[in-house]
């Protein structure tokens, strides 16, 4: 049995001896900024200590709400953000300095999101280091699993590193990158692939930031990892422990990090959406409770619990509230937080942790031999590996080897369910408000700021400061991305399956 204590290198048993309650964050956002603002105020009143802004797909893909490609997608999977005017509405009446953590799914547009909140903070006279901003900004996993890539992968990587560099050197309170394995797992990977592909991506960001002269000890402490908490209870606890150990050793041995903060892997756990079923959807409450218990026992820092009706549509208000209540019951009633890493020493768990660690290392080595993550993205290696495993998982369920209650065993008729309905007028309201912004702003200042952004991008410099200026002039997300498209070109879809 290991003699390692919680809070000690390599942090298998947690990054702190006295971790306290994790940050409870629920993913949310839909429709117009005003509708989302109301929902956020309600969630904050219910006792949330951090929250997240889900962005709609046009925003994530750098398209304005009136772009023909945005039709039918505006305000669907998140809130539509076209310009700073929308952020002003979104955050109306919410004091920035009272928020511990605002998370967001900006990846391909990480630099635009950072610029939005830098501009808002400036407007309100608040130091950006006085509030927490958590930008996902992990564009590489978009090419592998999540699908909101805009430019070729090299350009995407460059822009993500611009954000990392800017935050590491100017706003160290912010999280500059959530190294995301969640989406890789959701796409059908194994737990080992989830962690190894994620850390391989992380190495691309780190290497590029370091090559720009930023020290690893400036960058690594601003990072989080975002992992799935899936239904396999013990292996998932072991995964969180193994991931911390691999990260700590990677930082110390391969990157020569000196600051212990660089070695301490902060984890954001998210219960696995793909484990939820449309059949007998109330069973999902049980699934997510077990998944979040695994995360709690695995010693994570931030948690999201999925709503039980997620496989049926955008979560209803009641289901979103129940998900938060689930977190509160586990955190405050069960005693799970009484001692860190309470399962340490369990023969099975320690063995699993060791095996996962060694498998993650050997996959990381394999990726390095193949030329690194960027190469494995461009040649399809990651995507193919995930597809293989995802197909195997499907076959295991269809053949009955893997049992899923309500799907391939113990089926019954589900009660009719009334899903959440998006206000159908949201899209036209958003388009109207975008047009109003364009009519009201100083268009000469916009053109000037956009031309400057183009020049900065062409010169290969960090685009964040120029983007802040464009945002302050009320340039739209679509206009900013269009400028950069002239420099970087478009990503081309892969047709392999």
């Amino acid at each position: 049995m290991s003699l390692e204590k919680p809070g000690e290198y390599p942090y298998t048993r947690g990054i702190s001896a006295d971790p306290g309650v994790w940050t409870m964050g629920q993913y949310g956002g839909f429709g117009t900024p005003a509708e989302t603002n109301e929902r956020f105020k309600m969630l904050l009143n219910q006792g949330l200590t951090g929250f997240s802004v889900a962005l709609d797909l046009p925003t994530q893909l750098g398209l304005d709400s009136d772009d023909p490609l945005s039709r039918g997608e505006v305000g669907r999977v998140g809130v539509a953000i076209d310009s700073l005017a929308d952020i002003e509405i979104l955050m109306d009446g919410i004091p920035l300095e009272k928020i511990s953590q605002v998370r967001t799914t900006a990846n391909s547009i990480g630099y635009i999101w950072a610029a939005m909140f830098i501009a808002l903070a400036e407007q309100r006279g608040v130091d950006p280091n006085k509030f927490g901003m958590f930008i996902q900004n992990d564009v590489l996993k978009e090419y592998i699993a999540r699908g909101t890539q805009i430019f070729p992968a090299e350009a995407g990587l460059k822009l993500s590193v611009d954000v990392i560099e800017h935050i590491a050197t100017k706003i160290p309170k912010w999280v500059s990158l959530a190294m995301s394995g969640y989406h890789i797992r959701e796409a059908g990977s194994t737990a080992v692939q989830e962690v190894a592909f994620t850390f391989a991506n992380a190495r691309e960001y780190l290497d590029q930031a370091i090559s720009r002269g930023v020290s690893v000890d400036f960058v690594a402490p601003t990072l989080f990892t975002f992992l799935s908490s899936n239904i396999d209870f013990l292996p998932e606890i072991a995964k969180f422990r193994a991931a911390r150990r691999v990260w700590a050793r990677l930082m110390r041995e391969k990157y020569d990090a000196k600051d212990p903060a660089s070695e301490k892997l902060r984890i954001f756990a998210f219960t696995a959406g793909s484990s939820l079923t449309a059949q007998q959807s109330m069973n999902n409450v049980v699934r997510t409770s077990i998944e979040m218990m695994a995360a709690a026992l695995g010693g994570i820092q931030t948690m999201h619990v999925s709503a039980f009706d997620e496989a049926l549509g955008v979560p209803t208000q009641d289901a979103a509230t129940l998900a938060l209540r689930t977190q509160q019951v586990v955190a405050f009633e069960t005693g799970v937080l009484d001692s860190p890493d309470p399962l340490a020493g369990s023969f099975e768990l320690e063995a699993m942790t060791d095996i996962l660690e060694s498998e993650i290392w050997s996959l990381l080595d394999n990726i390095e031999k193949r030329g690194g993550a960027l190469e494995c993205i461009n040649n399809g290696y990651f995507v193919n590996e995930i597809s293989e495993n995802s197909y195997k998982l499907t076959q295991a369920i269809e053949s009955g080897i893997k049992k899923v209650v309500g799907v391939n065993v113990f089926q019954s008729e589900s009660a009719p369910f009334k899903p959440f309905e998006i206000n159908p007028a949201s899209e036209s309201e958003q388009v109207a408000s975008l047009k109003a912004v364009r009519a009201k702003r100083d268009n000469k200042a916009v053109t000037e700021a956009l031309n400057n952004l183009l020049a900065v991008a062409k010169a290969g410099e960090n685009v964040v400061p120029a983007t802040v200026e464009a945002i302050k002039a009320y340039a739209t997300v679509g206009e900013i991305v269009e400028q950069l498209r002239q420099v970087y070109g478009n990503w081309k879809p892969t047709k392999i399956f």
Partner: protein, 136 residues
Amino acid sequence: MSETSHSTPIRVVVAKPGLDGHDRGAKVVARALRDAGFEVIYTGLHQSPEQIIATAIQEDVQAIGLSILSGAHMTIFTRIMKLLHENKAESIVVFGGGIIPEADKIALKEIGVGEIFTPGTPTVEIISWLKNAVVA
């Protein structure tokens, strides 16, 4: 059923219309159809309805499978059915899958979508439905 009805494989386009990037389901269905003897063309992500129809006509397929989980299904499926009609290609069978509420499923069938398969549907069910739908 005679042997001849299966002598030429059924050609099908599996497409990801709109901006949704969740392609796990689409790829699993594409592979399952291929394993079942279909000739499958997968479009990749971010396809406009116009691009999908162009691919379907160019590839001379008998069916189009659409996967969408972003909630934009009503707008996008409606546009695809309209384009099929405009291109006089109504003989192409259209089916779909994703996070699609029951009420929308009914509405989509009314505009001519053959079937909607929601999460948890076994791939064998999709295969057997498609074989019948195309033969008919």
